[in-house]
Symmetry: C2
């Protein structure tokens, strides 16, 4: 029996992205974005962060709503666990960046995704942040990301999809390569 071709739909508007790529090739200044967050200390290790405005395409932009987040340390560090830890925010950023990329690349390659799930684990020796041993780094010694993907594609094509998402991921780049961070007191 002949199969009826159903158009691949992962919810990503690839035409718009390819259009943006073309437009920004012609107008590189418009590609300069500024992403922002603000943070207020609440008490102890508890803080409250907000994200709303950003800059791009040559002008001020805004999310539809303001996104707000609490961060804290867990009770075993004598804190109140009012929010996820800062390093877990980094893991969520990595997970969501790679996952969005998988959907976009799949759409471009006409691969229908059925489900995509990621498990992340970051190893950290907390003797670094506690200042016990200056040879121990403060951050993760390594991160492992494991994907479970159900899609209309061969295992090889699924692996290639994930590899291409990694290649274009902003957060993967931020974590695997050094970025200059300037901290100032006003």
């Amino acid at each position: 029996m002949a199969q009826t071709a159903t158009p691949v739909d992962n919810g990503v508007n690839v035409e718009a992205l390819l259009g943006a790529r073309e437009a920004l090739t012609a107008a590189p200044e418009a590609a300069k974005f500024k992403w922002r967050a603000s943070c207020k200390w609440v008490n102890g290790t508890h803080s409250h962060s907000s994200v709303k405005s950003f800059f791009g395409l040559g002008e001020e932009q805004s999310h539809k709503t303001e996104f707000t987040f609490d961060a804290d340390h867990p009770e075993l560090f004598a804190s109140e666990d009012n929010g996820m830890t800062p390093v877990e925010y980094v893991l969520v950023g990595l997970a969501s960046c790679l996952t969005a990329g998988i959907a976009a690349v799949a759409q471009n390659r006409e691969i229908q995704l059925k489900s995509v799930e990621a498990s992340l684990e970051g190893d950290m020796d907390v003797r670094g942040i506690l200042g016990v041993d200056s040879d121990v780094r403060n951050g993760f010694s390594g991160i492992k990301v494991t994907y479970n993907i159900d899609a209309d594609a061969s295992p090889e094509d699924i692996k290639a999809l994930v590899a291409q998402s990694q290649k274009r991921s902003a957060v993967y780049d931020i974590i695997t390569n050094p970025t200059n961070v300037k901290v100032e007191v006003a």
Copy 2:
């Protein structure tokens, strides 16, 4: 007139942290933590992440509650803006990590904090993630963090406080230094 000494209280239990430092110096295995996140693709660039369990002090641990987060791309990338972008999660992680550190160091140095606010801005040329120019990196070209701090301390002591927080910050380390990330398909 003589001043009455009020004990400094920034809500950080420094005694517990110093105790942990001592305990983990004697038992380095207990300092090996694993931080985790899981992520499910929803549709398009929209994903849903959860954080609850972690491993530390030699056993499975758990946050008091499960923390859940939506991530998405904004409307100008032809997405639905159902959550903050992945790179903004990284900025929130950095802001909350440095801010928690400032509170902890201030407590240890007996500096009473009144207010701590941070503004973060990360520059990104989106021609990287769009694959327009392979010389443009995917992540931030740089991040600027500006603190406004009101505290019972001199401007020099406040600057030294922020510098010490940077020195011990896990997320500052993750962003400014390379970390190995292994991505696998199960």
